[in-house]
Symmetry: D3
Subunit: 232 residues, 6 copies
């Protein structure tokens, strides 16, 4: 493995990131065709935060946060720092001092498969974090890794400059080249959902709205009363 | 497996459900003889909610929410929708649109071994949820299942029309035929606990109140000072 | 296994406990040389609590809370009750009545590898808890164990009279004999971090502050532009 | 919870059990409509064993094997002892002495969500076991439970007198009333699979045999060459 | 998500695959710079098998094996079929009939994050499998996916035509373009290890051979006798 | 944390270790009063091995095996090397070359919470291993730790010079000072079990032999026929 820090990574337009954040994870994920999530092991440290940013990636050795320090320098306003380790580790490789440095650089959030500490301070600062654990366990700075190389988080590849969207539903990666398409599909989806919401509020059933009764019948699902079923 | 949607399920009286909700999960569970819990993998999405309702059950294929749509139609005011999958799945098969439909029908809560999404919206709506995960992962509508058949959630069988009680301590199933007995025992337990609470506030010890000193002695537990123990 | 309740355990000075609480888990853990944490399976039931106390330990049989009742009597003001089981168990062996008894005795918090219940009440009482689960599952009082013997919680040995520090970053054990040294090192660390924080707020990089550029170079980490990296 | 030992449980005919064992878990599970499995947390202690027997159930307290001792007396030749605990426990509640007693009574196997010990001896005896763990951790005999009541193992309800089938694919419960139907469907399935096997050995594709090409097309799956795909 | 079956994927030379298999997973992984492993959740079904093949990938919906059937047709002699699901699923989507079809086509092994069944038969056939579980749970054929697109298995991206190496140490992906380099480095490593092995058999210490004594000293590790340490 | 390598650790007599190995884990664990096990996450790599040795301990940083190299030098014939990491790590920090060095020094086995690799070779060498995983993932030699300090493995403290017993039932630590007592109690237990085994082979019930019928009655367990039970 060659260890590199890649500089000058192209970023998506800020207005695209802002629009993605407005839609939120579930909407963009559906609009993209149900791909791109990093899975349920990376959880929000707070409630209600909803962000999108351009990924700066850091690939660290377990128990070692050297490359997070190197990654800070590569961060620009509007970025999200995304950290993972070569093998699974929940050590607390990130805390309030690093968050202070990121805030100073205009970074929007941290996403990490590892642990974070100084949780009280992070919450007070209002710096949004999605992480694998709350964990005070300290790390060293002894082993090399890379910054701004493609990494895999929970089964999803994140490349530097991809858009990362995160809220209480999880963390989503939108590849940089697919942002325009994702936005267009999200806009359409939001419109369609607004109509559906109104219908459901009026009492229409999704069975009817989505024409699922015929499908149930085709699949052999039968309707029986409880009395018939008990007589069975 | 025959796939059915069972209609016209008998429900427990609304006042019984309300009284169960007032007692909460821990009290009713103890009063029933320490049975009926669905276990620690189904967690509250919010803090402080305490509900009871009549179970409408949905058994789905993993990655598929077709039968949740069919279940909505079977829900009446005072019901709790209880969802599980044939094999383990944390996909986000339920979100804000389905919650909107359930609220419209007077449903009190969702309990699911699967995932939920649109978590921000669900919390804002104040619709209580106990689930296996917060997960944006979308599902399809392609595979049949059943509604209002007995299902197993975390080792506990839930039948349609059973009472489901849920709060921050977990989710409990009270079989319909056992609700009267559970209520009587809960009332007795609450009274007994009130007396014990007062005694503990005065400084009485549970060792004395529960007459445990003799038991400790019978079981061979000895009291030694730290000095004796270190010398030991 | 001889079952004992050890009485008259020596405690650390109250002012030392208070100062440890002020520093918090991450700072003291680092100051001690990155040891003493109980790991990520014991989680706070609340947000923002930060306590330190003298450990009273209880070693229970799974599914049995008899020895918690015995432990209550051994608790003094300023103590933290620390509970574990002989083999893994998340049963709800602790609830509001036991908390009431502990509060009456001036106990500061509960740390348990097991489960707790009456979570709504515990939060309302403001009694801080770190536990393995929220779980209504009840326990019996039938099997002996010990109070105030050394126990192991998540890989860390806790002895009666050790200082236990806990906050949103986890739970830390400071051996009684090492409290003075831990305090001194924590004071130094806090001062050093204050200077670093200010530097980061001004935009200084940790790479420079910690002199990590040379290390990266020694370890073979190369800086390349995205264009160079893509060219391969 | 009333604690009972239920005696004189009706059993399925021995020849039905033998025929189920011959088919094995996967075949009977499919023939029943893909239900009845106890899930992947109960694993075989040996390779290649394939048994079926009539269930004798034991419901124990965690860390306690009192009710296994009570269950032994209820076992008859051709039975399978099925053990679970009120809450999760992997303690080694079963070992070689209990296996000796079961072998003497003609019991065919043990299925337990808990742990077993004396694994070397159990393997030498050739007594088949499916369990949650290999674990020397000892248990006590102090807390009541029940024998021959319905229990839930990994999401599947097992009633005394149900047929339990087990092999390297897992553990399956066939309700007593459904054995005849399961056998008939298994016979049909085995015949059909024999024809399919031969076809596949000749090189026929399951895509063609199961007429899946049209389905793929309906679902929008397109065939493209690698060159076309890369051109994207 | 566009669903495609990609045909005509280029493969690595057969002699390269055979040489990779000869080296085994640990050696090639080290030679590549400690990358490429799929992690510890995919385990061998047998002991002692060591294979390498060209990846044919299948991306399935959970609980659905439709795309495995489509993938069979794309398999050529020397291939390894690699299967994963869009979200986690351990259902038994693969069994003896599919293995029969793969053997007929000259496929060397199956690697799947899902479950397999007919384990007794698979072992008898000698068809090597690395899987997420042994699980009889059946699947349906209802939902589309893709064949021969890049997939992620346990954090490692596998592309069609990459070399997959597997043995009792795990499963490794060698990107097609990197096979030559991996082979050269593996050859060098094997030679170096043979010399080291001989030295260790003679009693030389790795501390000396790898010149680690100075490093220990630099890192502040001190040597003390047990007597000194106890006095410490 | 001060990093040390402790030399000249006192060992138990070889004949005591041999006698412990003869008894095996379950017997000695029971004889000691059901304590000392390291839990179910450290599993045997082979079947049927049963060893005992004097512990040499190594405490490593995650992803780093530097201290294993330092530990090899401290090993003498009859020792067992016991390895853990400061925070959880399943990386493959041990393989065939290190095993070769240990065999050369007369070491009896490896116990590690981490991973091992070259599993095929380790099994062929007949070197017994109990580990947390089979995992090719390589480690570095960059971070200090300690050798022959007390470590905690799965909740049990192991001190250098303690006896470690391991077989298919798990791994047990017998503190050096308690070996004599453990042996005496094990001898008594084996004799008692031989008598019980013979009784069970003759058909005597453990209910009678252990006088459990009265206890069941005292605990309120009632005997009812299936007919009575169904009648409710």
């Amino acid at each position: 493995m060659n260890h590199v820090v890649v500089t000058d990574v192209p970023r998506p337009p800020a207005e695209d990131l802002d629009e993605l954040a407005g839609f939120g994870v579930a909407t963009v994920h559906e609009a993209m065709g149900r791909i791109g999530l990093v899975g349920t092991s990376v959880l929000p440290l707070q409630q209600g935060a909803r962000i999108a940013g351009s990924a700066v990636t850091a690939l660290c050795w377990p128990g070692d946060n050297l490359m997070i320090h190197a990654a800070v320098e590569q961060c620009l306003p509007g970025d999200v720092l995304v950290v993972t380790t070569v093998s699974p580790s929940l050590d607390g490789s990130f805390g309030e001092l690093l968050a202070t440095a990121l805030v100073q650089r205009g970074v929007r959030a941290l996403v990490t498969t590892g642990g974070v500490r100084d949780v009280v301070d992070l919450r007070e600062m209002g710096f949004p974090v999605w992480s694998g654990a709350q964990n005070a366990q300290g790390t060293v700075k002894a082993t090399p890794g890379s910054v701004n190389v493609p990494i895999t988080v929970g089964g999803t590849v994140i490349r530097p400059g991809d858009a990362v969207v995160a809220d209480d539903d999880g963390v989503l990666c939108v590849p940089r080249a697919g942002i325009g398409e994702a936005l267009a599909a999200s806009r359409a989806r939001v419109e369609k959902e607004a109509v559906a919401r109104e219908a459901y509020q009026r009492g229409e059933l999704s069975l009817d709205r989505n024409k699922l009764r015929g499908l149930l019948d085709d699949l052999g699902v039968r309707y029986v009363t409880a009395a018939e079923h008990d007589a069975g």
